[in-house]
Amino acid sequence: MSAQNITHDSPTRGPARPMPYVISGVMLALAVIMPLVVPMYAHDGPRLFSFPFFYWYQMAWVPVCALLVGIAYKLTTAEDKRRRAAVTSQSSPNGTQSGVVSDGTNPVSGPDVTEQTHGTSGSDGTSGPIGEPHKGRHDAGGDGE
């Protein structure tokens, strides 16, 4: 398997550039705040096609919201793609991630080791069994893709 050297600690994406997220954040904030400032639109006029302002203003925010979210989608998916590409190009030459130190220091073995660490780290009593569902989880459909 090609995934041999990838661990849970391997990053899935490279570092982010702030700009696409800042712009998207502003777009999304507008789409949340503007339809909620009720005093701004709770009046009758000006009417549009006989619709009081209160009603057409809110209806008009539906396509505007779709547009703003659409722009945010374009920006973040492009950045997402770039960050993902940054990781794969980095990891392909030697097959492992820079900065992942724990990979070499911990002995890698079967479920027994897992059980042991569960016991020690779960000192507060409740945390141990939480990790269990994933052990030996039957992974339906996932392998085909």
Binding site: H8, T12, P52, F54, A66, G122, D124
Partner: protein, 571 residues
């Protein structure tokens, strides 16, 4: 001028049909479409299973449709999931009976919703895909290493979902009543069509899982869009244009109702209801994607960005909802008389089905009514699947059978989906609809109290698990008490609404928001205290990289053995 004609309009057509006859043509159309949809539901079992020998014998396959839905299937599925039959019945009913604050807030609610979905759901999808989480309680349990917190989220989810399913039955019932099906005298005959409809729903959900509502949602949407577009073009012309319709609505909303001695409600919200209007929209939007059925729709998508793309195209439904809401005003201008089967009681929830039946040829009214009835089946199926998944993962597997195999999980989930639906049916038949509506109102307040645990967890591990638990408890207790204290001015019954003044002020807001703020403050303060006392924070099985993973990244189960032995919590 318009005010005068509107008075005429509201008085003139007050000649109700005293006894309800059965509209045979409309009923036949509804039955044919219902059978078609039922067959489709069974056929869905074989849809996109990709020749998988295991069939639907795992929660991923039965309960999440194989986590394989692309953009368009998701659009239909979530559209059918979020904009339920009850929404289509209750929103225009509220507009018809009480004006803009209790009805039209649904429009800003379903606008504000999508930026929130965009922000939160991609991260939840990634971490869930990577760890095989099926529910939000799975995520909370994994993130905070806290069984009580996960259980709190699961129980809140299940309890909030049950009355929501019951309300879908209220939607079907409205359609059946308007069609004249049922009997005011015999309860069994009265509820028989409902029982049959739910029998069909239960069986195909059992066999096909989430694939059935996904497929049926397509049919339902075609019918709904058809009905609404035709109604919006045709009806305003028939009733003197929008000018006259808004005039008639304004007239009704400003005329004192002799029964209450008050006006029905604001036509346009006044200064005293600004806060209520905004918080109803915001609180409902924040709460909607905490419901298990919404999360099921999200986790059934095939890639991280499917849900984000959908956040940009789902608002189209909000436009339909806006026009549907305005049909409540159209019904005022049209003088629609929403009478129960006994021919005496007025039930606002019948207003839109009645409007269609009065003003369209029977066959077309049948199509519109079928759209509502089928529209009830889609969310009811998804909700019962979601609640069943939660029961299976977070109660059965967590507390009764830790080593349950995927096949056993799927089997338990199938059976509990039957139990959930049966419970909802008993609820609707045994109690009156107002009990379901009260419970749904409470459910909305309760489900928002899981927001801090789930949403904060998507971004930070700063909050302490016991602080979040205490915040949840405080929010639930305050919310329930505040909702109980609201008294209906006419009937003097408790749970009279979801708006109450913030304690110590006169500002009326949505109770869920007040409870949420309390919840957040308690979580914040207690986190500082518990951290100072060095109370163990619990084990976090997630890593920062999980929140950005997509479908190509390996799932944690692929390297579970090596991942767990790295040191403790990440943050």
């Amino acid at each position: 001028m318009s005010a005068l004609t509107s008075v005429m309009a509201s008085i003139a057509p007050a000649a109700p049909t005293a006894t309800r006859g059965v509209d045979v043509t409309a009923l036949a159309v509804v039955i044919i479409l219902f059978i078609f949809v039922g067959v489709l539901g069974f056929y869905a079992a074989r849809w996109r299973t990709g020749g998988n020998k295991d069939g639907l014998h795992s929660l991923d396959e039965w309960g999440l449709g194989g986590r394989s839905f692309g953009t368009w299937v998701t659009w239909f599925l979530l559209g059918g999931d979020l904009y339920t039959a009850y929404t289509f019945v209750a929103v225009p009913a509220a507009m018809w009976a009480a004006g803009s604050v209790s009805g039209f807030f649904a429009v800003p609610y379903t606008i504000v919703l999508y930026p929130i979905v965009f922000l939160l759901m991609a991260r939840l999808w990634s971490v869930s895909k990577r760890h095989g989480f099926v529910t939000t309680a799975d995520f909370v349990g994994g993130r905070y290493g806290s069984k009580p917190l996960a259980l709190a989220v699961a129980v809140t989810g299940i309890v909030a979902t049950m009355p929501y399913i019951a309300l879908q039955l209220v939607g079907i019932k409205a359609v059946l009543t308007v069609l004249g099906v049922g009997s005011a005298d015999n309860w069994f005959l009265n509820d028989l069509p409902l029982i049959v409809a739910f029998g069909v729903l239960a069986v195909y959900t059992y066999t096909s899982g989430l694939r059935a509502p996904a497929m049926i949602a397509v049919v339902k949407d075609v019918l709904i869009y058809l009905a609404v577009i035709v109604a919006i073009i045709y009806l305003p012309q028939k009733f003197g244009g929008w000018e006259h319709i808004f005039g008639a609505a304004q007239e009704k909303m400003t005329t004192i109702n002799p029964a209450t001695g008050k006006v029905p409600g604001p036509f346009i919200p006044g200064a005293d209801s600004y806060a209520a209007y905004a918080t109803l929209a915001l609180g409902s939007a924040m709460a909607l994607f905490m419901y298990p059925h919404s999360i099921t729709g999200v986790l059934a998508t095939k890639s991280r960005n499917t849900i984000r793309k959908n956040a940009a195209i789902l608002p189209l439904y909000s436009l339909v909802l806006g026009f549907l809401a305005l049909l409540g005003y159209v019904a005022i201008a049209a003088g629609t008389h929403p009478l129960e089967l006994d021919g005496k009681t007025i039930n606002p929830q019948l207003v839109v089905p009645q409007l269609f039946l009065d003003n369209f040829p029977s066959w077309f009214a049948g199509v519109a009514l079928a759209a509502i009835a089928v529209g009830a089946l889609v969310p009811a199926a998804i909700m019962s699947i979601a609640a069943a998944n939660m029961f299976t993962r977070n109660i059965y597997k967590e507390f009764f059978k830790k080593d349950a195999t995927p096949r056993q999980e799927a089997q338990v989930s199938k059976i509990s989906s039957l139990v959930v639906k049966f419970g909802a049916l008993i609820f609707v038949i045994g109690m009156d609809a107002s009990a379901a509506i009260n419970m749904q109102l409470l459910g909305g307040i309760w489900i928002l109290q899981t927001f801090p645990a789930i949403v904060a967890g998507l971004y930070t591990r700063w909050f302490h698990r016991w602080a979040l638990f205490a915040g949840w408890a405080v929010g639930i207790i305050y919310g329930t008490y505040a909702a109980y204290s609201v008294v209906n001015p006419v009937t003097h019954a408790h749970f009279g609404g979801s708006i109450a003044a913030i304690p110590g002020t006169n500002i009326k807001v949505y109770i869920a928001i007040t409870a949420f703020v309390l919840n957040a403050v308690v979580s914040l303060v207690l986190t500082l205290v518990l951290k100072a006392l060095k109370v163990p924070v619990g084990k976090d099985i997630t890593k920062p990289s999980d929140f950005g993973a997509n479908e190509d990244d390996p799932e944690v189960s692929a390297f579970a053995a090596r991942s767990v032995d790295t040191a403790g919590p990440v943050i």
